[in-house]
Every structure is written in C-alpha cells, then in structure tokens.
C-alpha cells in the first residue's frame, strides 16, 4: 500500500463522508477507553480529498474514539486522492480482516458498495479475495438481494437473529410484512428451523387471503404473545407456534384435542402410551408398553382389559368426525 504515515489534525477528518463506510459502529466508548490507556496502536487509513481534508478508508471506530477523547492530532496512514476506489475498499477490507471477522450485515453493505463499482458478482468476489475475504459469487448474489430488503431485515441478519436464507425467503413478502416478521424474530430469537416454521405458517395463513402477515402480527392474538416480555422467550415461542398451528390446522387441532381428552379418560400414562397414526390418516394406532418383570407385564394386561372395554377407546377407534361445518 502506497501510504505515508502522518500526524493528521482530527478537525480535517470528514466523518460524514461515508464512501468507504460499511461496518457497525458499536463499542466506540470501550475503544476510547483503550486508546486513552495505551494510545492508538494501529493508525487508521485516510484518503486525502481533492477539495482538502480527509475521508476515512479504514478505522471509522478508531477515528470516532479519538475524537471522543478530544485528541487534536492522530497518527494516520494517508493515501492520495487519486487512489482508485476499488483499491481503497480492498485496503479497508484487509485492515478489518487483520483484526476481526466482518458480520453478515457488514459484508452485505460492503458487497453492495463493491457491486456498484465492479458490476458483476464474479468481479466482486475476485476483488475481495486478495484482501483476505472469501465471498463466493453465489454469496455475493445473496448479499446483493439482501441489500434491497428493509433495514429491519438487514439488521436481523447482522444481529444474528435472522438467517440470511430466511431473510431472502422473505423477499416475496410485502415490505410491511417483512418488517413485521423481522420484528417477531428480534423479540423471540428463534433458531433457523423455527424461523422457517414461523415464516411458512404465517405465509400459509396469509395465503388464504383473509389478512396480511403484518396485520396478523400486529393484531392482539399474536402481539399479546410476542410482546409479553414478562414471559420468557422460549415460552413465548411455544405459544406462538401453538397459535400458528391451531390457525393453520383447525380441524386437525380439534381432532388432536379430542384424542388426548379421550386418552386421558382411559387412564393411560407412565409406562404405557397410546399413539395415534400420523395426522389420523392411517387407521392403525400404536400401544406402547414398558415393563421390567412378568408381574409388571401382567399389570399392563389387566389395564389393557379395562381400556378395551372403555367407551372412549371405542370413540377413538371409531374416529368419529368432529364437526367442521363452521370451517367449510
């Protein structure tokens, strides 16, 4: 890198010029504490501007920390105003790569900037590799798609509570719905499979055309769950999942409720279990008996005799249809 280390007047650094800005600006206070204690170990990289002054190429947080300490002059490596923008980005990436890994949101902003410069995803990928950041063209494409999504979604990806693939799956949603879903993920922090489950459930419900996803999530039925901060996150997720399931599968939910009610009446529990066929599609039920001795098995036999004569077992096996006339 062709850069001279100089002492630069902080008043001449234009922090509002964000041509090369793509990183998160968190932890400036902590960094300021460290700079105040040991000084600036790694000088930022600045570019001279044609009309005077400097813009930051690498080290926005360091410059901000120094300014917050009221330092009038700081050491910096300065590159010329004529330096190619792509090269400046590569310097910035290399500078960051030496200290920490860029998060998804930062990579997304970086790729968006570079794509404007390079034009193709392959060129972006090739530009990043020598700077120490490997982003295959397919991932570049994903970041470009993400860059067109609402800030709330991008923040979800940066904040690691929304996976990149789930975010991209939200492309087909309206802007308001995408923001609403990102909001739910921010509140509940579900895992990847849980994100997919929620998104699919909401999409299916909205697909019926009765209401939009954002209206649904803003309604009291959902928001009472997602916004109940006195309930822990895991429990809120379970409640949301249950609500979605019941709304998506109203007839199946009723059948399940009836089955478990009757099963309870049969007195099955502990080391005995009765399982229904998947979704009640098949007609074969499974009885599980766990036993440790012949006597134990005999006690099961007695219980089975009682269960076989129970009217609720007959009702279960008759598979009487719950009334669904209100549904269709």
């Amino acid at each position: 890198m062709q850069a001279e280390q100089e002492s630069i007047d902080t008043a001449l650094i234009d922090l509002s010029d964000q041509k090369y800005f793509y990183t998160d600006q968190q932890g400036i206070e902590e960094l300021a504490g460290s700079v105040g204690f040991v000084g600036l170990i790694s000088p930022p990289v600045l570019q001279a501007k044609h009309k005077g002054g400097f813009r930051v190429v690498a080290g926005f947080r360091r410059v901000s920390a120094c300014i917050s300490l009221n330092l009038e002059q700081i050491p910096a490596r300065v590159i010329t105003a004529e330096t190619d923008a792509l090269y400046c980005f590569q310097v910035s990436v290399a500078d960051n790569a030496a200290t920490r890994a860029l998060n998804m949101g930062e990579q997304c902003s970086l790729v968006e900037n570079l794509h404007n410069l390079c034009g193709t995803k392959e060129a972006v990928s090739q530009a990043l590799e020598p700077a120490g950041l490997r982003v295959p063209p397919a991932l570049v494409e994903k970041f470009i798609r993400l860059s067109k999504m609402p800030d709330e979604v991008r923040q979800g990806v940066s904040g690691n509570y929304l996976s990149l693939n789930t975010a991209l799956d939200m492309e087909s949603l309206s802007r308001a719905s995408a923001i609403a879903v990102a909001g739910v993920f921010r509140k509940l922090r579900p895992g990847l499979n849980q994100q997919r489950e929620i998104l699919e459930g909401l999409r299916d419900l909205a697909g019926r055309g009765e209401t939009s996803i954002d209206s649904m999530l803003e309604g009291p039925e959902f928001s009472d769950i997602t916004d109940s901060y006195d309930i822990d996150r895991g429990r809120r997720f379970s409640l949301l999942r249950s609500l979605l399931y019941r709304k998506r599968y109203p007839a199946l939910s009723r059948a399940e409720d009836a089955f478990y009610r009757r099963k309870k009446n049969l007195g099955i529990g502990g080391d005995m279990d009765l399982k229904p066929p998947a979704y009640f599609e098949d007609t074969v039920y499974t009885m599980i008996l766990r036993f440790s001795s012949a006597r134990h098995l005999c006690s099961h036999a007695e219980a089975l005799g009682r269960i076989c004569r129970h009217p609720d077992l007959e009702a279960i096996l008759k598979r009487e249809i719950e009334d669904t006339s209100d549904l269709y």
């Binding site: 007609t283 549904l327 269709y328």
Partner: protein, 351 residues
C-alpha cells in the same frame, strides 16, 4: 404426420436432433411450467404407448391403463400435477402411431376387460385442433369388444367425433368442478355449462359418458357449490348413460406447492389444511375429505341412485364412511369398474 401438423399450425418450425435439446431449453427458463406450453414437440414415443396408471401406494387404485399419446396440456390449471410430474413439463405429441396401433391390437387380444384412457398425462381432446386422433381411436375401439377407451377432457372439442359406428366402446368423460374453481383455477378451460352441453351432445350421439369430480377443492361454501354442479349435470344428462363418476380431492407432491405459488400468485388452493399422507403426497385432513365427499354423494344419489361412484386414490376408511362400503365387497375397485363398462359399453371379454 409432422409435416401435416406443422403446415396446419402455421407457426415457426425448428427441427431438433434430440428431444433433450427442447427439454434443456425449457428447463433453463425462469418458468418451465409456462415455457413448456409455448413449445410443441412432435416426436416419437420411444417407450410403451400403453402403460399402467402410476397410482399410488397405501390407497386404492383402479387398475387403469394409460394410452400415452402425448404429454402436458395447452390449458393451464393451477393445480395441475403435470407441472411437477415432468422435469420439465413439455407439450409433446407422439407421431409414431403405427406403434401405438400395434400395441392397441395386442391390448384388444387380452382375454379380460380393459379400461384405458388418454387423459392422464394430457387432455384427451386438445390434440383435435392439430391432428385429430380421437376419431381414429373411436373407430379402432368400435371394432373389438374387450376394452373401452375413455377420452377425458376439459374442452368441448367433440364435433369431429363420429356420430355413429362407435359401438359404445368409447366413453366421453369430463372433469367437473365448481364454477368458482373453473373460473379461478382452471385457466383456458371450457365453462361448466359448456362442458355439460358438450356431454349432452355426445349423449345424443349415443356415447357412454363419465364424469370426474377431481380434484375437489375445499373452500368456504364448497359443499353447496359442488351440490349445484351435480344438479346442473343431472338436469341434462341421463344417469343411465353414465359408466362411472369418480371423486377425488386435491392431492399433490409437496414440490408442487412452490410451483403453484410462483405460477399462480393469486391462487389460494395450496394454503388449506393439508397433511402429509401415507404416500408422501399432501392431502386434506381426512375428516374434511370425507365430509366433502359425503355431501356431494348425497346430492348425486338424490338424482342418480344407481350410478357407479368411486374414489380415486382413497383408502377403505374413506370408502366406508362416505359411500357405506369398501371395494372388496364387490370384488375390488377394478372389478366394479369393469362390470360397469361391460354393462353400459357392451363389452364381452372371453374369460
């Protein structure tokens, strides 16, 4: 035949060495489901013309045979399984009819009742506009007495069918659905009233008839609307002329959901209460299917108590709860359908 068809169509023609070139071109488009309808591939059927219906596991199938004259369809039903069944789906018409006729002659020689149709992998009558084939098939079937041909359609292209001499060995069949579903989901198909009018025309020519309420779709008000379809049907059609009526609810391979959502963004049909059934296909939760069938069966039975009703790909529980019996009671579904065909179409296979 290829020259005749291309001359008739007056569209740009391109000769390809290998059908794979066409498949590749269609596959590489953003929407193969639509692209496959914009190309007509005239080619030889390198496999058998007569095939077993693929059917499905765990559910009762009817032992149907398919006469494989072509694939895909020029109409565009949102629920069409062919969109996901073929990779890619391409409108193709097989031109080596001498091979087809050889296979049919062997089929006629079987000493058992045969039921075969052209309407599984395509619509039976869309091809009449480019190369009338139905008339030739009707004629072939009229000269034997062991098998029936079923021409299943959503069109009304029946004017070219022979007025007489068919011997009752060709069944004209229509897929029926509610006017709402036809209008919203069965794009480019004939309306319900027009389909029934075409069936009435065929009835007047003495053709046996069949009807398929398949796929039935669940939506608020569907039971009343399917009932009205049955009413419309029996206002014009004599149940005595009906060989069979099938009922089947919407079922699909899971991968079809994304295809429908992408190709038909206004369609709501994939968002109902589907469960993954025993054969891996998505089906409505069983009690919902049974309720839907029961209501339509009740309505049909009011007008046509003796007509043969059957389910396409349902299990014994559905049969028992919706129809009151299982096919085993009558010797199995295939036998039930064979007997109806023998009676109404005048088959007398040598056993």
């Amino acid at each position: 035949m290829t020259e005749q068809i291309t001359a008739r169509l007056k569209v740009p023609v391109q000769y390809v060495k290998d059908p794979a070139e066409v498949y590749k071109t269609v596959s590489n488009t953003r929407d193969p489901g639509s692209a496959g309808k914009s190309v007509l591939l005239l080619t030889r059927n390198k496999g058998p013309f007569i095939r077993r219906c693929p059917g499905t596991s765990h559910y009762t199938c009817c032992g149907y045979r398919i006469l494989h004259i072509g694939t895909y369809c020029s109409m565009d039903c949102a629920y069409c399984i062919l969109q996901a069944y073929y990779h890619p789906p391409v409108l193709q018409f097989f031109t080596n009819h001498e091979k087809m006729e050889t296979e049919l002659k062997a089929f006629f020689g079987q000493k058992k009742t045969g039921r075969i149709g052209t309407g599984e992998f395509t619509d039976s009558l869309i091809w009449e506009a480019i190369h009338p084939i139905a008339g030739r098939l009707v004629d072939m079937f009229s000269r034997q007495h062991t098998a029936v041909l079923e021409l299943k359609t959503k069109t009304v292209l029946v004017d070219n069918l022979p007025r007489s001499g068919h011997g009752g060995k060709t069944i004209l069949a229509w897929s029926l659905n509610t006017e709402r579903i036809i209008s919203n989901e069965e794009h480019g198909t004939a309306s319900l009233a027009v389909r029934i009018a075409a069936a009435e025309k065929c009835q007047a020519k003495g053709y046996p008839l069949a009807f398929h309420f398949d796929p039935m779709l669940l939506y608020p008000g569907c039971k009343q609307e399917y009932g009205r379809v049955a009413d419309m049907l029996f206002e014009r059609i004599d149940p005595e002329n009906i060989v069979w009526i099938s009922l089947g609810s919407f079922r699909f391979m899971p991968e079809l959901k994304d295809v429908i959502a992408r190709r038909f963004p206004d369609s709501k049909i994939v968002f109902s209460e589907f469960i993954k059934a025993m054969d891996g296909k998505m089906r409505y939760f069983k009690p919902l299917r049974i309720e839907l069938y029961r209501s339509l069966i009740e309505r049909i039975r009011e007008k046509a108590p003796d007509v043969l009703l059957y389910f396409c790909m349902e299990d014994d529980e559905v049969w028992e709860k919706a129809l009151g019996f299982t096919p085993d009671f009558f010797g199995g579904l295939a036998r039930m359908l064979d007997k109806s065909a023998e009676k109404i179409c005048g088959l007398y296979p040598e056993r």
